[in-house]
Amino acid sequence: MPSLSAFLKSLILLTVFAFIGGGLFLYSGFYPIGADTPHHPVTYWALETLRERSIARVAKNIDVPADLDSSDRLLAGGADYNDMCAGCHLKPGKLESDFTIGLYPSPPNLNLPEDEHAHSHGPSDSNTNAIKRQFWIIKHGIKASGMPAWGPTHSDERIWNMVAFLQRLPTLSKDQYQILTARGDVEGTHEH
């Protein structure tokens, strides 16, 4: 039976070889970094789990505003969604864009209900968790995914407005979407 010191020596050797092997692989350039080469399913699962666990941990203490379903929030958030998000996350009547085809992982289609485009959460408070998750993702972004952090340039109120709009987006028709998101003459151009 091998002694404890022999076992430790083997462990150290294995660790050293793993570091050297990893370093050689990093510097070799053999990793296919292109967005058109999908991850191995195990890598994809690991990254997705890492993302979801991280967001669930940091988003759980976010307070959701009580007036999230107000028409004012829908109006304010709709215009921002159209300008900042619709290119990747689509809008009613649009099933794909250059971004949804080219980005990897592909951005979720937010016109679909939550259970069809993303991941299900707890059974009872799943909607509240999904709302917190959306706010956190819009504010902080996600590393190496193409999702930017809008927090540094947008206030929490503006981000909540976008979250409010997202709750109604899957139910909107093309015409309703156009009316809610068009900035028209009302916004921006008439500030005295």
Binding site: D175, Q176, Q178, I179, A182, G184, V186, G188, H190
Partner: protein, 101 residues
């Protein structure tokens, strides 16, 4: 040292101003007007006046209508005044004075 700190503060204040200067008007390059006439062709039996989507559309179209009326009123006043009554520059100044929002 004080001068250095003062200069550094000024630079930081200027930079922080840029970081938060993200106004909605910055998104206004491809301005589109709401097509409120489409509301007439929507299925009214499915419309509920308590629905926030419905309320938001009504608000948007009311605001748009009021802006258009103001704009038309503004244009009418300009054409009624006529170019001969007073020099164009003076007239423009007067209108701005009358039209403070």
């Amino acid at each position: 040292m004080k001068t250095l700190l003062t200069h550094l503060s000024i630079v930081l204040i200027i930079l922080s101003g840029h970081a938060y200067a993200h106004d909605p008007s910055e998104h206004n390059e491809k301005k589109e007007n709401p097509k409120c006439e489409k509301m007439k062709s929507m299925d009214h039996s499915k419309m509920n006046s308590d629905d926030p989507v419905m309320q938001a559309m009504m608000k948007k179209c009311m605001m748009e209508k009021s802006m258009m009326e103001k704009s038309m009123h503004h244009d009418e006043n300009q054409s009624e005044a006529g170019p001969e009554e007073e020099p164009a520059e003076d007239k423009a100044e007067d209108e701005h004075a009358d039209h403070q929002h």
